[in-house]
Symmetry: C2
Subunit: 409 residues, 2 copies
Amino acid sequence: MTNTTREALACLKGVRVLDLTQFEAGTSCTQVLAWLGADVVKVENPTGGDPGRRTGATKPHKDDPYFLMYNSNKRSLTVNLKSPRGLEIVKDLARKADVFVENFAPGAIERLGLGYDVLSKLNPGIIYGQVKGFGEGSPYEKNLAFDMIAQACGGSMSITGDPDGPPTKPGPTLGDSGTGMLLAISIVSSLYRRKETGEGARLSVGMQDAIMHYIRNALGVTSKTGQPAPRVASKSVGGNNPPANIYPCAPGGPNDFVYIYTSRANPTHWPKLLETIGRADLIGNPRYDTREARVEHEDEVDEIISAWTRQRDKYEAMRLVGQAGIPAGAVRDTSELLNDPDFENRDVIQTIEHPTGPFKMLGWPVRHSGKQAKMIPAPLLGQHSEEALRDWLGMSAEQIGALRAEKII
Amino acid sequence: MTNTTREALACLKGVRVLDLTQFEAGTSCTQVLAWLGADVVKVENPTGGDPGRRTGATKPHKDDPYFLMYNSNKRSLTVNLKSPRGLEIVKDLARKADVFVENFAPGAIERLGLGYDVLSKLNPGIIYGQVKGFGEGSPYEKNLAFDMIAQACGGSMSITGDPDGPPTKPGPTLGDSGTGMLLAISIVSSLYRRKETGEGARLSVGMQDAIMHYIRNALGVTSKTGQPAPRVASKSVGGNNPPANIYPCAPGGPNDFVYIYTSRANPTHWPKLLETIGRADLIGNPRYDTREARVEHEDEVDEIISAWTRQRDKYEAMRLVGQAGIPAGAVRDTSELLNDPDFENRDVIQTIEHPTGPFKMLGWPVRHSGKQAKMIPAPLLGQHSEEALRDWLGMSAEQIGALRAEKII
């Protein structure tokens, strides 16, 4: 049973995006634009294309899930950027584009002759977006960066992990997708403005700076204390309000835990929790009755709760605590998520029929008036070369055939 | 020396946002709209306002950095939503608004009589955005959630931490700000569409679903292996390509580490790294020469690199390895970031003059045609009640005075 409608969203209908992105930071950005209705033409080199197609790929000639996850709803056009004619084609496409996005290594797009200075002369209204590892003007602006470098330099690793252990990389690829989302906001906002002024824009964002956007609570802690925000394992970076932690559940697997959170703003959570776990006898006991008392006896508090959680599985613990109006959440692993019918029922996960086989694809999480964006499988390399050149540049089959014969596309 | 211009961005100039958000998921979204030029009027209860003002606050009558970080560039209007006249005022504001955003507990806004059904009748073109813990139609849609609950249920905790340890909460508040950014994209895209069609939209997003958006690499691993994506400490979730890890630096403090990443796509990284660390003698040594060999002898590889990194501080290590064209990044803590003049030079961090004292504020990381959005301090509670009612509803000083006398604003 599906309780939504899977549809092509039309928010950005008519917007043409010339996409020179690869890997994730750039591709996640342009994919969102595609999900929201833009016509995204991804330009790839004819010999292999986006290296993300092969990143982690285990089967020859089969694009990796990594590529499929970030390139759905786009069209693929192969162009050899090392040929002058190929570059001319990209410039012709830029004349027709509303948006251009790239995330090559620093300086590469300019060396190709496709910098903002060049493209904005051909098309003054173009919205030109760039993702780099470090922001313009940073002492590191020429450095290469990948997600993990941004997570190191942007502070997210320093606030993740055990208090007594080393810094730890957060699993989410915040340096990549987290940055891509910020650029998408600025791109669409610039398109909105352009409807009134006709003005183009040059947008750029550094992954290091984007990471900081997502750790503002920790920066706020430093504002107050003057000290680096600590690592707090699974507790809250700014607060100390036990219980607010993960608790072990049956049958004791690596992800059999439930998060239970009692809010500082809601003093009823603690007595309600005691009632839920069958320890109403402790309600009002001064040893645990105030936040300060629970901080002092935190290990005991954790053990009182663990004694109950260990007796049930994480879903039952979540259900019982959640029903009592106390925030609770089972720790879920990626296999449990991918196989939970809830997400397919809601079209948050959609099984797409990619030419190389069916694939469970995570879609755009935001629901638009009851609709979820419909996923269209990521393109095969060069799958849309003909139609993109025809649609955007009005090329004939003959012209396209000649380009193909000369290995330009 | 500043190499940018701090300016009010005008992308969303003329857009009116009626903001009923609190804490972070909703406030981070509306703040971005404000940074990009929208007129955001935050409606708060006259007795205390957004509970985020006090979250973690250590000083009476001084808004916490948590509030300042997520509410700059907005105006504060106090309205008592428990009074019928107060509710009428909010409805009148909704008639004038382009966007409405809220992130109350599930069902609360509808119980107030401010649900989409009501507001869209008053203003069919309104873009109505909601953040909840769980998506519409989820079995948990009525459950309360905070960032950590979403991080548990959305899978990010299961892929963060030591391989042998428990799940670990990523430090970044991805369930909150990560969700807010996705909603912002859909809001602005819906505004763009509305310029052509005049149509409003109802947008909603669950924090659990939003978390999954940021762990797609890990979901892709499960697509391939059928197994839950593992915890890998600071390594890459999908890959195994040593060296790709953090390495200890002098003088050995808790965040004295450098991330060094040799890309699988670039086989020159390894020999270049050996040269950089004075171990050119190992170039071509079959014990380490291929990826497979380095996987087999990973502990030795890590020790070869650590022997060099331990002799220098993380910045020098980053500089030397980075200069050699190999991705490298010092692990930086929040105090180092907040005090690094680089960010103020680039206006990524701006010191704002809040009425309660100066405050270092992280701004919008995306640069727009050489400009960074200018930060305006978060409002004091009710600071703009008069001007907002005058600007949006044309109320007279007399009318406003009467509302104040009746404690409605």
